[in-house]
Symmetry: C2
Subunit: 242 residues, 2 copies
């Protein structure tokens, strides 16, 4: 992305589930002091437990949200891209971030005031309701993560991940996508080792004929993947929870 400005930001921010349905002047209130910054790959936006003054809106790029255990292992909470908001839940966590955030591809990030958000939520039931709805959506995502962790095997988890990347509106039966970031990051997002990820991809290749070239993935018929992946799931494709 090469050109952007406040209006571009405002347009996309207004569409986000957090603030949709608000009047324009209410939104203007919220974005009054927004700062838009280019941030480079590998930079840390904040660390878990940091004092939280801002929440963030991704205009472009990729951001990894993660935690670390005492023994140094990293657990990837989520990986977000354009149109996503993150860090806003700090207002329910004593104004501390519940995870760390690292830029993993050069990104354009809007910094928004948590204080303003907090004040508005405390008085505006519409925003509060939106916030609750987005919390509910997130909760359902997590529930399906739990389910997937416990009942899907590695190839199925990858299948599910790929299905979520597929354009739901596409007419074509074929899948042609590119993995959005490092394979080892995807692996960690799916809670498995890079080696397991690699072997699981190979299994998808032999079992349903999925073709893998570097980070490019091709499959002639999406239905094969659905049949292979979703048998174990309590929700049907497309996973309602996403």
């Amino acid at each position: 992305m090469t050109n952007f400005n406040i209006d571009y930001f405002k347009h996309h921010y207004s569409l986000s589930s957090l603030v949709q349905c608000l009047e324009e002047d209410e939104i203007n209130q919220l974005i009054d002091q927004v700062a838009i910054k280019n941030i480079r790959k590998h930079e840390l936006l904040f660390l878990r437990e940091d004092n939280a003054d801002h929440y963030f809106f991704v205009l472009d790029g990729w951001v990894k949200l993660f935690r670390e255990t005492l023994d140094g292992t990293q657990a990837v909470v989520d990986i977000v891209t354009s149109g996503h908001i993150f860090g806003e839940t700090a207002i329910f966590e004593d104004d501390r971030y519940p995870y760390s955030a690292e830029i993993i591809e050069d990104s354009i990030i809007a910094f928004l005031s948590l204080r303003k958000l907090k004040n508005t939520i405390e008085t505006n039931p519409k925003l509060a309701l939106n916030m609750m709805h987005s919390m509910t959506r997130y909760r359902k995502q997590q529930e399906s993560s739990i389910e997937h962790l416990s009942i899907q095997n590695a190839p199925q988890r990858i299948g599910c991940f790929i299905l979520k990347l597929v354009d739901k509106n596409s007419e074509s039966k074929a899948i042609n996508i590119e993995l959005p970031y490092d394979k080892s990051l995807v692996a960690s997002r799916l809670g498995m080792q890079p080696e397991t990820f690699s072997r699981a991809l190979k299994k998808l290749s032999t079992e349903i004929g999925m073709q893998i070239k570097g980070s490019k993935i091709h499959l002639d018929d999406i239905q094969k993947l659905i049949d292979y992946t979703c048998v174990a799931c309590s929700s049907e494709f497309p996973c309602k929870d996403y």
Copy 2:
């Protein structure tokens, strides 16, 4: 519990995180049409996807919240007892319950109107904030479940479960507790098979000297269990998320 009445209910309900900080007349509004019922073990309170008119407050007993997958396996979402509210999130799920509920010990349950709750949330920012706080708490529980599922092994998961049952205010270094319900229910709550549960308990016995007699558990020094259990965790004991 042998004696209870509306005032007893009101007292405890008022203390619940959902409605604390509300004025008395606001609470009276919410509990206007409450019904308090004795319900027997094994009865189903509602099924997932049922049309939701009520949310529930447990006055006494135990209730299992669960889901079923296509192949009939049961996943236990939670097991709740006195003082807990459940079913209230249906207002964000198109008025359908997101899980099924079964009474697992004879219980006393208050039936509360979801419609009233919904109306109040939509206009009263205080209640909305409380609701968000309780959603946040739940979210953190889930996050720690995800973490535990992927990082902790079976004995550690049991250890974590036991640590949560321990009275945090107790002065004593020793643990003396009784498992609150069927062992196989605990197993399912922790996402493992009854056989695995049994073997994992035995491992806790040989590794840190925990003594198990039926459903009674004794350990001379809680620190042993903390050392064994919490090494893998991103939060410290007592797990902040509970």
